[in-house]
């Protein structure tokens, strides 16, 4: 108990120094937590992917289409429960800066494969009835102030022209990490228009989404689908939705790596700052450590005193940082919701925060402890006066 008092009182001995160090650790923990959350957001599509969904695309590249005629052949492959399709539409709403993901999809079945997109039944029915109907995620609708029944005009980039749509439904997310920023329109509407304007591009899809009967059948089913189209004009590549999403993440892998490195650098910097603070503190207390050694206290006690002080400062900073991370994440989530479908702090991030704080505290205590333990008692006592 007395030793605990000694540790805590020493930690508060230079209040300004301690407060600044705690604040520094807190800021680092906030930055670390937000960067780790950002990396988590990057993998949100991967995390949200279903184990029972496969994605089939052209084996050359995603930008090459597949014929719509593959639909029935895929449906016949053993293990396939459902199959639907869609195209990346790439439409722009008013201005390029209003970017959001929009897909032309099979209106009758596409959302059946995505139970995480929850649409009221009457709105879903209205969407299916109207060739020009569209469905938007709740965050996207909120961002642009859309209501059901509002006309929406998209300017096509991949499919040129003005696309006059009517919002027939707004979906909400079944899970906290569900992307609420997507937009769906009818593939049939796009296809019929293409038949009139550029017939050679009609009857093609960007990807098929396949629901398998059992997750364990997914690899065999994917292989069977691709075998069906071997030596065809458009060979396929079928992979799990997770692998498909990871493929997208891999395209931006350098950015993710850079964010990850920055998050570690933040911790390394505060580690050095804390170590410096603790080194200064220990240097000022060498005589006190020498006194403790004179009284018979050994290296273990000195290590307890120094690591205890270093860890208490680091953990105070971590606690404060974790508390501040929540409002900071909420602010980012509301300010940048069009870019981040969800910006929630995962429990694993909190564990990483605590791990980082422990590391900061331990590293901060190593050098001062070594110096205090190995220092000569007589030299230490001479530092008084």
């Amino acid at each position: 108990m007395l030793f605990l008092k000694l540790i805590l009182r020493n930690a508060l001995r230079h209040k300004l120094r301690s407060v600044l160090t705690v604040a520094g650790v807190a800021v680092a923990i906030v930055a670390f937590g937000l960067l780790r959350t950002l990396i988590g957001v990057w993998y949100l599509g991967v995390e949200g992917s279903s184990a029972t969904r496969l994605v089939t695309r052209n084996s050359i590249s995603l930008i090459f289409p597949l014929p719509i005629s593959y639909l029935e052949r895929i449906r016949q492959v053993p293990g396939v429960a459902e199959v639907t399709y869609g195209n990346w539409f790439g439409g722009i709403y008013i201005d390029r800066k209003n970017f959001f993901a929009n897909f032309a999809v099979n209106a009758d079945h596409y959302l059946d494969l995505y139970p995480e997109f929850v649409v009221p039944p009457e709105e879903l029915a209205a969407f299916r009835r109207d060739r020009r109907g569209a469905i938007a995620g709740e965050n996207l609708a909120a961002k642009f102030g859309w209501k059901v029944g509002d006309p929406i005009v998209l300017t096509g980039t991949i499919f040129p022209g003005q696309w006059n749509l009517v919002l027939r439904g707004i979906y909400r997310g079944a899970r906290p990490n569900t992307d609420r920023n997507q937009f769906f329109l009818h593939w049939d509407y796009v296809n019929e228009t293409l038949k009139q304007t550029t017939p050679r591009r009609a009857d093609q899809v960007g990807f098929y989404v396949i629901g398998v009967k059992r997750p364990e059948e997914a690899p065999a089913t994917a292989a069977a689908i691709d075998r069906s189209f071997t030596n065809s004009l458009a060979e396929t590549l079928t992979e799990t939705e997770k692998a498909f999403q990871l493929g997208f993440v891999a395209m931006t892998g350098a950015i993710v790596t850079a964010i990850r490195i920055v998050s570690y650098m933040v911790i390394v910097i505060i580690m050095v700052v804390t170590a410096n603070t603790m080194a200064m503190t220990a240097r000022e207390r060498l005589a006190e450590y020498a006194t403790l050694k004179t009284l018979g206290f050994g290296g273990g006690h000195l290590a307890l005193a120094i690591f205890g002080e270093s860890l208490s400062i680091a953990l105070c900073g971590a606690g404060l940082g974790i508390l501040l991370t929540y409002p900071a994440a909420d602010f980012i989530a509301s300010a940048l919701k069009q870019f981040f479908p969800a910006f929630h702090i995962a429990p694993s991030t909190l564990w990483l925060d605590l791990g980082a704080a422990l590391l900061i505290g331990l590293v901060g205590g190593i050098f001062p402890t070594w110096r205090a333990v190995t220092g000569n008692i007589v030299d230490g006592l001479r530092r008084i006066g």
Partner: protein, 231 residues
């Protein structure tokens, strides 16, 4: 035929030198000294004569280069660091010139500190500390921090801390060096009482002839050599 009592401290041909860069500087050379149980010895000598070094060696804070150094029959120069620390904790009470109290602990807590290494329970520790502070006349200052006490009071807290484990020897390095005349006299009286009434063996290093007069025996060190005995 009467048998000579075994001395508490027995030093034979003790030598110690320090390195200043590449140069070896001898501090103590061939010291022979015996200190009986219950003695009050003052070590005097000019600066650099080696008196503090001798005191540190007797107290187990430093190790000699050569010679034998027995305290209470234990050859402390051969003890490993951990054993030496344990030996110090139970056999030596330290009184420093600048008190060496921990500023974040109260007088009570400073005195209690050495008892953390003993098997005593908290309640027993508190009783011991209260008694020690009463002995040095600071029962009413036990909750004060060192910064709230005068120099003399701080030195009395340090004496209480030195006594608390009931050590075999009290070593005092210039215990009055930082005090005014009245406070110094109080401290010397207290140390004298500990020797006279409680039979504590005291070894004190001092520059001050008045302080040395409190001791029963005065030994002079000059250039690392013990020169005389003054009864």
């Amino acid at each position: 035929m009467s048998e000579e009592p075994t001395p508490l401290v027995s030093i034979r041909n003790l030598s110690k030198s320090y390195w200043r860069g590449s140069q070896q500087v001898p501090v103590l050379e061939g010291i022979n000294l015996e200190i009986p149980q219950g003695e009050f010895l003052a070590l005097m000598g000019p600066s650099g004569s080696g008196k503090s070094t001798l005191l540190n060696l007797i107290a187990g804070l430093d190790q000699p280069d050569a010679g034998e150094l027995q305290v209470g029959g234990i050859e402390i120069s051969r003890l490993a660091e951990g054993d030496l620390a344990r030996w110090r904790a139970s056999h030596v009470g330290f009184i420093f010139q600048f008190y060496n109290l921990l500023p974040v602990l109260t007088a009570f807590e400073n005195v209690e500190l050495p008892l953390l290494l003993s098997p005593l329970k908290r309640r027993d520790r508190r009783d011991h500390v209260a008694l020690a502070l009463q002995l040095v006349g600071l029962a009413d200052r036990m909750d004060h921090y060192p910064g709230q006490l005068s120099g003399g009071q701080q030195q009395r807290v340090a004496i209480a801390r030195a006594l608390i484990t009931d050590p075999t020897i009290l070593v005092a390095d210039e215990p009055t060096g930082d005090l005014d005349r009245d406070s110094a006299q109080e401290i010397l009286d207290l140390v004298g009482r500990l020797n006279g009434e409680f039979g504590k063996t005291v070894i004190m290093v001092t520059h001050d002839p008045r302080a040395a007069e409190t001791a029963r025996v005065i030994r002079h060190l000059d250039k690392g050599v013990l020169t005389d005995v003054v009864p």
